[in-house]
């Protein structure tokens, strides 16, 4: 069998998406409070979930590559454009701190009934149209300092892939251990519509 398989886009999209949405909701990522609590260093769930997911998938891809079943050449690896990639991260980070979500989690948020998630989603459409409006003027910046195509960290550092994987696992275990008591699950409670409209000082948990 050769991988990746050629499976219909409808089926693969729905299956991948279902797992994605289910896992994000079960992690608590429908809550803008929970997501931004990481950025206030009150809760380390975002780091733990992201890092675990990256590592599980990265180790899986590594094993598939070693076994020759699905090599790294056959999968999509994004290319760095230094300023565009970095400033894009800056924008998405600022957007999450200010608005509570990122594009994917805003969908999870409004599917769990959160109105601010839906408003964030509308903001995404507005921002995209704004980007399209200035795209031509930004192009020189966006194309600047391209890295080697599909470069990976092992290639950048000239070390074997397993070294990078072990280093990332060490970071995950260390941060996980240091932050083992940090979870704000009880603190994050969205305002129900019954309380909405009441300005600051609304009684918590009154609904």
């Amino acid at each position: 069998m050769t991988l990746p398989m050629t499976i219909s886009s409808v089926a693969s999209g729905l299956i991948g998406g279902l797992i994605f949405g289910f896992a994000l909701e079960r992690a608590g990522f429908a809550s803008g409070c929970k997501l931004t609590a990481q950025l206030r260093f009150k809760d380390w769930a975002v780091f733990k979930v992201m890092f675990t997911a990256i590592l599980v998938c990265a180790v899986g891809l590594y094993v598939l590559d070693l076994a020759g079943v699905m090599t790294f050449d056959s999968i999509y690896i994004p290319t760095t454009y230094f300023w565009a990639t970095l400033l894009g991260g800056v924008g998405v980070g600022a957007g999450m701190a200010i608005g509570g979500y990122c594009p994917g989690t805003s969908v999870v948020s409004f599917m769990s009934g959160r109105i601010d998630g839906l408003v964030f989603f509308f903001g995404l459409l507005f921002g995209t149209v704004g980007f399209a409006g200035v795209y031509e003027r930004l192009e020189p910046l966006l194309d600047a300092l391209p890295g080697p195509e599909a470069q990976t960290v092992p290639e950048l550092l000239h070390v074997p892939t397993w070294v990078v994987l072990v280093a990332l696992i060490a970071v995950a275990v260390t941060v996980g251990w240091l932050t083992r008591d940090k979870s704000s699950q009880e603190v994050c409670k969205p305002t129900s519509l019954r309380d909405a409209g009441v300005p600051m000082g609304a009684p918590r948990g009154a609904a």
Partner: protein, 171 residues
Amino acid sequence: MSSPKPLWNPYLAGALLGLGLLLTFVMTGHGLGASGFTTRLSAAVSHTVAPTATESNAYFGNMVGEDVNPLDSWITWQVIGLAIGALIAAVSAGRFKISIDGPNKLRISARLLLAFLGGAIAAFGARMSLGCTSGLGLSGAATLATAGFLFLIGFFATGAGFGLLLKRYWR
């Protein structure tokens, strides 16, 4: 109303997410995303409102046209799956509830304004980097791409900076 079920352990949720991501790579050769869909939806909406301007736009132009539907794409099905998966998870855990999240010391109107502003900034960023937290941060980093980690560094440093600035609006 019974209280919602507790959230999953973050390592368990992360492992499921990682396996779902790996399965997506095995099925399609690429990872998961989100902003690819919002970009296509923006192009579609823009094309409905202002067809001529959208078709001549340097960014949207090649996504729209007479016989081209910007939403006819893998990422559309993936985001439909994402929405259904999230709904199933929220309802089955007793967590589906019409509510408003956000900085709980602020008025509802201010929270919604921040949500809109944050969404606009995030989308602008995700278009610069050709991917958002899902497409570049998660899927890119899982391939160990330099781009994924550079994105995550910018994301986390800026997010934490603004997060600490806005901390006072959270209880």
